[in-house]
C-alpha cells in the first residue's frame, strides 16, 4: 500500500514533484506576507 501511494505522486518520467510542491508553499507564504503588509498599510 505504501509503495502504491508513493507511486501516485511520482510521475512516469521519473521527475520528482516535490520541487514544485515546495515552490507552491513558498509562493503561498510570499502571498500571505504581501497581503498582511497591504492590510497593515491600509488600516494604519
Amino acid at each position: 500500500m505504501a509503495d502504491d501511494l508513493e507511486s501516485t505522486t511520482e510521475p512516469c518520467d521519473g521527475k520528482s514533484p516535490w520541487g514544485s510542491i515546495y515552490a507552491l508553499v513558498v509562493l503561498e507564504l510570499a502571498a500571505l506576507v504581501g497581503a498582511l503588509y497591504a492590510l497593515t498599510r491600509w488600516a494604519s
Binding site: 500500500m1 505504501a2 509503495d3 501511494l5 508513493e6 505522486t9 516535490w18 510542491i21 515546495y22 508553499v25 513558498v26 503561498e28 507564504l29 500571505l32 506576507v33 498582511l36 503588509y37 492590510l39 497593515t40 491600509w42 488600516a43 494604519s44
Partner: protein
C-alpha cells in the same frame, strides 16, 4: 455555564476520548504504541501536527495578546513554512531510512551514545516542564473564571489525557487530535462570527479594522531592523525559522506525529499541510483578539479582566480606592466610546478621518489605558502575589459574557481539547524518549517486546503524574504563550545545532559537537539572564554556536593530528 453548555462540553469531550480509544483498541507492540502501526494518512498527520502545537494557551493567550499588542505576533510564524520544507526534504528521509522511533536515535547513528543522551535529556527537561504549563495554563484561567477547583481541573485534564494516551498510544493521540482540531477550528470560527455580530450596527468590519489600525493593533508586518524588537518580519523569518526547524524537526512530540505516517509521502504532505495552514490560522485567532478589542471600544470591559481578582479587591481595604478608580474609568470609557464612534463615522467618508478625530481617539484610548495600568497597580498592592497581567482572561471573559448559551460549552471545549491534544503528544513523546533513548539503551540485557511496551506505558503515566504535579505548584507566568516559547527557545537552538551538524557537517565527530552544545547552552543562559535580546534569536545564536564550535574543534583537532 448553563446546563446546555455543560451538556455540549461533556458530550464533545467524552465522544473524542471514547473515539480515540476505540480507534486504537488493538495496540499490541511498541511499533503500534509509538508509531501507531504507521498507518496514518496526511490529513490526520497534518491536523495532529497542528493540534500538538495548538495548546490551550494558543486559544487563551493569543487573542489576549492581540488585544494588548495587535497583530504583530503573526510574524513569529513566517519561518514555519520554510522549516517544513527543510524537514520534508532533509530530515524526514533520514528518519525513514533509519527506521527510528525517536529523533535522538539518529544522533547515535551519526555520532555516539553521548550525543544521543544529551539530545534526549535536553528534550526531556524542556518538554517535561512545558507539559506542566500546558496543563496549568487552561486550568488556572478556567478555575478562576468558572470557579472550578484548580487542582481538580489540573487532575481532570491530566487523568483524561493519560488514560487515552496509555490505552491507545500514538494512534489514539492522532485520532483524538483530528477530532479535537475540528472542534477547535469550528469553535474559533463561531467565536469570530459572534464578535462580528456583536459590533455596533453602524460599525462595519472595515471600520472596525480601521479603528484597530488607528490604535496600533493592525501592524501585522514590520520590516524594521532592530534585534531588540521581539516580532518583526526579520525575526520571524530567521528566528522563527530556526525555532520551527528545531521544534518540528527535533522535538519528539512532533517527530512522533509525522513518523506515524503510512509512507514518506504521507508524512511530507502532513508537514506541508501544517506549513500552508499555520499562518492563516494564527492570523484568524489574532484577528478575533483584535475584533474583541474593537468590540470593547463600544462595550465597556472590566477595568481588570481577571474579574475574580477584582471581586477580592472590592472586598478588601482597597475597596474605596477601587471604587474611585472605577468611577474615573467609567467617565474615561464614555469619552473613548464617543471618540470611537466619531472616528468610525469619519473613516467611512471619502477623505477618511481627519487628524483631530484621530488624535482625540488616541488620547481617549491612552486615558483608559492609564487607568487600567492604575488598576493593575492596585491589584498588585491589594492582593499579595496576585498576577497583574490579565491578557489571558480577555478572550474567555468575552466568551462567558457575550457568547450565546450552548456555544459557551463549545468554546470551553475548544480550550480543553487544545490542552488535551498538546499534552497527549507531549506525554506520549516523553514516555517514548525515556523508554527508547534512556531505558532500553542503558539496559544491558534484551527484554521482551511486551516488557518494553509495559515500560513505555509506565513512563508515560509517570511523566503525566509529574506534569500534573508541576501544574499544581506552578504560578501564573507573565504571558503563558510567551513563557512556553521562551522555555522552548532556551534549549531548542542547542538541540537543533546537534542535528544541523549531524546532517550537514559529515566530518565532525562526537566530542567537538558536545563541546559546541556546552558552549551554546551556557551562552543562551547568559543571554537570557543578562541581555534584552529577543528570545527568538536564542535559537539562531545557539544553533550557530554549536555548529561553529563543532566545526572549529574538528578543524583544529584534525590539524593537530596531521602534524
Amino acid at each position: 455555564m448553563t446546563t446546555i453548555d455543560w451538556l455540549v462540553l461533556a458530550t464533545t469531550l467524552s465522544f473524542i476520548v471514547a473515539y480515540g480509544i476505540w480507534k486504537s483498541r488493538d495496540v499490541a507492540n511498541m511499533r503500534d504504541y509509538l508509531h501507531g502501526g504507521q498507518t496514518l494518512r496526511w490529513p490526520t498527520i497534518g491536523l495532529s501536527i497542528m493540534a500538538t502545537q495548538a495548546s490551550a494557551i494558543t486559544f487563551l493567550s493569543t487573542p489576549g495578546q492581540a488585544y494588548e499588542d495587535g497583530m504583530r505576533f503573526v510574524q513569529f510564524y513566517f519561518g514555519l513554512p520554510l522549516a517544513m520544507i527543510v524537514i520534508s526534504a532533509f530530515f524526514l528521509p533520514i528518519y525513514y531510512r533509519l527506521k527510528v522511533y525517536t529523533a535522538y536515535e539518529y544522533l547515535e547513528h551519526r555520532f555516539d551514545v553521548r550525543v544521543r543522551t544529551v539530545g534526549a535529556l535536553l528534550f526531556l527537561v524542556s518538554r517535561g516542564l512545558a507539559a506542566g504549563i500546558t496543563i496549568y495554563a487552561p486550568a488556572i484561567v478556567l478555575s478562576t473564571i468558572l470557579g472550578w477547583p484548580l487542582n481538580l481541573t489540573n487532575l481532570g485534564i491530566g487523568v483524561a489525557v493519560i488514560l487515552y494516551t496509555v490505552l491507545g498510544g500514538t494512534r489514539a493521540v492522532s485520532q483524538t487530535q483530528r477530532q479535537q482540531m475540528i472542534v477547535m477550528l469550528t469553535g474559533m470560527t463561531v467565536a469570530g462570527i459572534v464578535v462580528v455580530l456583536n459590533l455596533p450596527d453602524d460599525v462595519s468590519v472595515a471600520s472596525a479594522l480601521k479603528l484597530a489600525g488607528a490604535l496600533d493593533r493592525m501592524s501585522a508586518v514590520s520590516f524594521e531592523v532592530d534585534p531588540n524588537t521581539r516580532y518583526t518580519f526579520w525575526s520571524g523569518i530567521t528566528g522563527g525559522f530556526f525555532l520551527a526547524l528545531a521544534y518540528f524537526g527535533t522535538d519528539q512530540s512532533q517527530v512522533q506525529r509525522y513518523l506515524s505516517g503510512r509512507s514518506l509521502t504521507e508524512s511530507r504532505l502532513g508537514l506541508l499541510f501544517n506549513g500552508m495552514f499555520k499562518v492563516p490560522m494564527q492570523f484568524g485567532i489574532l484577528l478575533i483578539g483584535v475584533l474583541v478589542f474593537v468590540f470593547h471600544l463600544f462595550v465597556q470591559p472590566p477595568i481588570f479582566f481577571n474579574t475574580s481578582a477584582l471581586d477580592r479587591l472590592a472586598a478588601s481595604e482597597y475597596a474605596a480606592e477601587l471604587d474611585d478608580l472605577q468611577r474615573r474609568y467609567d467617565v474615561a470609557f464614555a469619552g473613548q466610546r464617543a471618540a470611537a464612534y466619531a472616528y468610525a463615522a469619519a473613516s467611512k467618508s471619502e477623505s477618511g478621518a481627519d487628524a483631530p478625530t484621530l488624535a482625540a481617539l488616541r488620547a481617549s484610548a491612552e486615558r483608559t489605558r492609564a487607568l487600567r495600568t492604575e488598576a493593575k497597580e492596585l491589584v498588585r498592592r491589594g492582593l499579595a502575589g496576585a498576577e497583574t497581567k490579565d491578557a489571558d482572561y480577555v478572550f474567555i471573559g468575552f466568551v462567558l459574557e457575550f457568547v450565546p448559551r450552548g456555544l459557551v460549552g463549545l468554546l470551553v471545549a475548544v480550550v480543553l481539547c487544545a490542552a488535551m491534544s498538546s499534552t497527549a503528544s507531549e506525554l506520549s513523546a516523553l514516555g517514548a524518549t525515556t523508554t527508547v533513548d534512556l531505558y532500553q539503551r542503558a539496559r544491558r540485557k534484551r527484554a521482551t517486546a511486551a516488557h518494553d511496551l509495559r515500560m513505555s506505558k509506565l513512563f508515560t503515566v509517570l511523566w503525566g503524574a509529574a506534569a500534573v504535579a508541576f501544574a499544581t505548584y506552578a504560578s501564573l507566568l507573565d504571558n503563558l504563550i510567551q513563557a512556553v516559547n521562551i522555555l522552548g527557545s532556551l534549549f531548542y537552538g542547542t538541540v537543533l545545532g546537534l542535528f544541523v551538524t549531524a546532517f550537514f557537517l559529515p566530518r565532525v565527530t562526537a566530542t567537538p559537537v558536545l563541546a559546541g552544545a556546552a558552549v551554546a547552552q551556557t551562552a543562551v543562559f547568559a543571554l537570557f539572564l543578562g541581555s534584552d535580546l529577543g528570545f527568538l534569536w536564542y535559537n539562531v545564536v545557539a544553533c550557530g554556536l554549536v555548529v561553529g564550535v563543532a566545526w572549529s574543534g574538528q578543524f583544529f583537532s584534525e590539524g593537530r593530528n596531521d602534524r
